[in-house]
Amino acid sequence: MDRPKGLKYTIPQGEIMSPGHLACQGCGATLAMRYALKALGRETIVVIPACCWSIIDGPFPYSSIGVPMFHTAFETAASTASGVLAGLQIKNKHKVNVLAWAGDGGTADIGIQALSGAVERGDDFIYVCYDNEAYMNTGIQRSSSTPYGAWTTTTPGKSFKTLPKKNMVEIMVAHTIPYAATANIAYPEDFIEKLKKARDIRGPKYIQILAPCPVGWKYSSEKTIKLGRLAFETCIFPLYEVVEDRYIVKKPSSKRPVTEYLQLQGRFSHLKAEEISKMQEYVDSAWKKLLKKEEQA
């Protein structure tokens, strides 16, 4: 092969995060942070509640994140971020990005009150929920963000979760948030673009990024990106933005059946044909509703 003249970087080349962190092999949440730091740069202060990232970052006196970061209690990502923001504002440090970075349990369950409060107040920060669809740091317990059909240690065996995933983006939209979006670690360019867009909007911004978890979803670590792509291509985790109530949806070139996504993951291995078709129906209907919202806008 000829060596190409110049490498075409589609995401910023510089790294802020350092290796040596404590993430499991193939961790989606870690990729999400790597991209977020690339997008927002060193002028960023991160607030992290209890979640996988409480551990990933590394033990005192070490830290992999490369920017100032404050570990806070489980339900306080948004409220602590509000305080950080107010502190920066009163000190006239207006150019620093405040990034609240929480898992799905810290966002959709225990932290939803603080998040709702901060969004209602219009606090000017970016909230990223890295969604690995269960309490992974404590060992795979179901959260309200766990999807229908999934095994977790608290929805074991035949008692798999039979309730749908909580739709946090819609909850944020109901707050009349200026910017809400979903993202996916398999599409870093898209995530980075959304973060940059969010950075330039004043007020609260919410991005939920799908972060596949090899341990919790029961798949082999090399499949993280493949599963991310399939989540998008099956429309099980659509990529879209809501900017001032206007929906912008990214569509896959062809919509794949959900089985392609499910069969790669041990957490869905117990599902029978009728349950899979129920899931397909649910995904189809949610996808249709989403496209309709885009049309209406």
Binding site: M1, P4, H21, Q25, G26, C27, Y62, S221, E222, T224
Partner: protein, 108 residues
């Protein structure tokens, strides 16, 4: 507080520092980080070793882009894996469109 610089400069960082506290008086008042995580050679977690076959590589950067550590650097247009940190997740092997990264058994 004792700081020691490792002899070899790392591709991915400024060189690993380790910090030991012999006395509580040397410690900061709360748990504030004082350096990065390069001290932690996570390469020991690896059970398989991804090996780049440069002749097959088309320099598409996908392996670099999707490395969660990150421990892949582009040197002369080709990926170089820092085995001090590579945990062997094999994402790079999976995303390579040319099969230019192969899995080898990790020799202990």
């Amino acid at each position: 507080m004792k700081k020691s610089n490792s002899k070899k400069k790392k591709l991915t960082g400024q060189g690993a520092k380790t910090i030991e506290f012999k006395n509580h008086n040397d410690m900061p008042l709360c748990a504030v980080s004082l350096t990065d995580t390069l001290y932690n050679k996570t390469g020991s977690w690896r059970s398989i070793r991804p090996v780049v076959q440069k002749d097959k590589c088309i320099s598409c950067l996908l392996c670099w882009k999707f490395c969660p550590e990150p421990c892949i650097s582009m040197v002369d247009g080709k990926p170089v894996i820092d085995y001090d940190y590579c945990k062997g997740c094999a994402i790079c092997i999976e995303v390579c469109p040319k099969g230019a990264i192969v899995s080898e058994d990790e020799k202990k």
